[in-house]
């Protein structure tokens, strides 16, 4: 009844990613397809920069931002569900709920005066916005653990830290991971807005197309950003399956956490 899954779950997303890159890096294909949709447009594809470079920029921004969001969101979520952090629970969870209603473009606009133009404010805005789903799901996931599990863990003599590493986090992991996925997907979409403040990435063709009334260019950027979001989500879904049992098995946790 061994249910450990192999790395084969990554084969599908990897093939999809390879096809995605091949299509992105082949302008003639875009020209012929977009030319048919927009027969009257002179400018059909974005030429200022290679698509691969823009994809790499987007992935980098999202990767850095999501790493920060995950670390901050999980830490905060763990903190407020501890006895010592219980006093901050209401403030933090209200803030998380309120923050979700705050549009990402507003976060970006507010970050520029602080950090100037370019990568940094974009990553800051993405990270800040991405904290919220991770935080919410960390709190929700830990709170949804059946009381019998948490109680058994304590009653068997696990220390508070062991209860966290071996019972709470592994059981809440799927919910927390869902939060990370939301954070990454929203990140890819939000990162395109970063192009308005010179962060590059797949937002560049979108913004350039809008500014110069070249709908084909905007569509090119939009399709590539959407495709990237789907592929990253597929990778995360695959990781979730692998992590599901391996990372949460006791041997793996013992390696990463000092007991």
């Amino acid at each position: 009844m061994n249910r450990r899954r192999s790395l084969s779950v990554f084969v599908g997303p990897t093939i999809a990613f390879a096809i995605y890159l091949a299509i992105a890096a082949y302008p003639p294909l875009w020209e012929s397809v977009l030319g048919r949709i927009f027969p009257n447009e002179a400018r059909l594809v974005y030429q200022q920069s290679s698509m691969l470079k823009l994809i790499a920029q987007t992935i980098m921004m999202v990767a850095i931002a999501s790493t920060i969001s995950t670390a901050v969101g999980m830490s905060l979520g763990i903190f407020v569900t501890r006895e010592s952090g219980a006093d901050f629970y209401d403030v933090v969870s209200d803030l998380a709920n309120f923050g979700q209603t705050f549009p990402p473009i507003a976060v970006l606009t507010l970050a520029v005066p602080l950090l100037g133009f370019g990568y940094e404010p974009t990553i800051f805005a993405l990270a800040l916005y991405g904290v919220l789903p991770v935080l919410q799901n960390t709190i929700g996931g830990i709170e949804a653990i059946p009381p019998s599990i948490a109680e058994s863990a304590r009653a068997m003599g696990l220390s508070p830290r062991q209860v966290l590493y071996h019972a709470e986090l592994p059981v809440a992991a799927p919910v927390i991971f869902a939060g990370v996925r939301v954070s990454v997907i929203v990140g890819v979409a939000t990162a395109t807005i970063g192009a308005t403040i010179g962060a590059g990435g797949l937002g560049a063709p979108i913004i350039s197309g809008l500014a110069n009334s070249d709908p084909a260019v905007t569509l090119q950027g939009g399709l590539l950003a959407a495709g990237l979001a789907l592929i990253l989500d597929a990778f995360l879904a695959a990781s979730e399956k692998v992590l599901g049992r391996t990372v949460t098995s006791r041997a793996a946790v013992a390696k990463s956490a000092n007991r």
């Binding site: 599990i149 058994s152 009653a155 003599g157 071996h166 019972a167 992991a173």
Partner: protein, 317 residues
């Protein structure tokens, strides 16, 4: 030996104490049942023994040592814990679940593996089949068995159980209770067992402590609780058929008259049947006596209706 002395606990915002100056003792090797209606404080009492809940007043001692002087984790590792809903870790295999406390205690892997095999056999699960299974692959009864095995893993002298057989169907519960009694006959643990089911209490308990509104109403052996309920509340709680429950506590062998002079056409009961079964046999055959036979069918003696009546008239010790 577990001794609770003048224990009290009032939850924040509650109007009355959950447990109110409760004094109780569970002797070594006995099953002490805590029973009462919901909210009587029985589960709170159990959870104070391993300090999942801290009492407001009073002391709890284990073999004469105040539990507050012990490190919480060490105290808990020395007490097996099994609850309704079991609380198995869903992300751990049966193997890892059962091995939890031995692992916490730092046993070497070989010893843990051997112990887990032994425990799976003890609770009636085939080790080859169940060792690597995950909790969501188990039936309710199998999960309860794994829960009991996990509680017994490090061979703790004390077991705390809170309705461990509460969430399974009556047939499975019956079998789990019987198996638990077999296990207990071998291991002689000191067990504190919470239930709200009087039949379970009578069947498993060496002594029964009946609680109401946080107070101890009566604590005695099952026979005496049934024969001499302390007040109306206890009488009502143990139920109208307490006479029949008393009969189920004694074996036919204990009351039969030894004789070989038995008519061939008498109805028969086994010597290891209980008196309730024998009475049922007498009633359904319309006579006033049954023949008692051993496992091979050889006649050992007779049991009469008069004998059963006399059994009731005798004071219970």
């Amino acid at each position: 030996m577990i001794r609770l002395e003048a224990i009290a606990k009032t939850y924040e915002g509650a109007e009355r104490p959950a447990v109110d100056s409760l004094t109780l003792e569970a002797k070594d090797g006995e099953i002490m049942i805590l029973i009462g209606p919901s909210g009587c404080g029985k589960s709170t009492t159990l959870r104070m023994i391993n300090r999942l809940i801290e009492p407001d007043a009073g002391t709890i001692s284990l073999d004469g040592v105040d539990v507050r002087t012990m490190r919480t984790e060490e105290l808990r590792r020395g007490m097996g814990y099994a609850i309704q809903g079991v609380g198995l870790f869903p992300h751990w295999s049966v193997h890892e679940n059962i091995g939890t406390v031995p692992w916490l205690l730092g046993w070497d892997q070989k010893r843990i593996d051997e112990r887990i095999r032994e425990l799976l056999e003890l609770v009636g699960l085939d080790p080859d089949r169940y060792d690597g299974a995950y909790p969501d692959e188990l039936s309710g009864g199998e999960a309860q068995r794994v829960g009991v095995a996990r509680a017994l893993a490090a061979d703790p002298p004390v077991l705390l159980m809170d309705e461990p057989f509460g969430a399974v169907d009556p047939l499975t519960r019956d079998r789990l209770q019987r198996e638990f009694l077999d296990i207990q006959a071998r291991l002689r643990k000191t067990v504190v067992f919470v239930t709200h089911d009087i039949d379970e209490a009578v069947r498993l308990g060496d002594r029964i402590a009946i609680m109401r509104d946080g107070k101890l109403v009566q604590c005695d052996v099952p026979e005496r609780v049934l024969a001499y309920p302390a007040d109306e509340f206890v009488a009502g709680f143990v139920g109208g058929e307490r006479a029949l429950k008393r009969l189920s506590l004694a074996k036919v062998a204990s009351l039969m008259e030894r004789t070989q002079d038995v008519a061939d056409d008498l109805p028969r009961v086994g010597a290891d049947a209980n008196l309730r079964d024998a009475l049922a046999r007498i009633l359904e055959t319309g006579g006033d006596r049954v023949a008692v036979v051993d496992a091979t069918g050889a006649v050992e003696g007779i049991l009469t209706l008069d004998g059963l009546m006399a059994h009731f008239r005798r004071p219970v010790e």
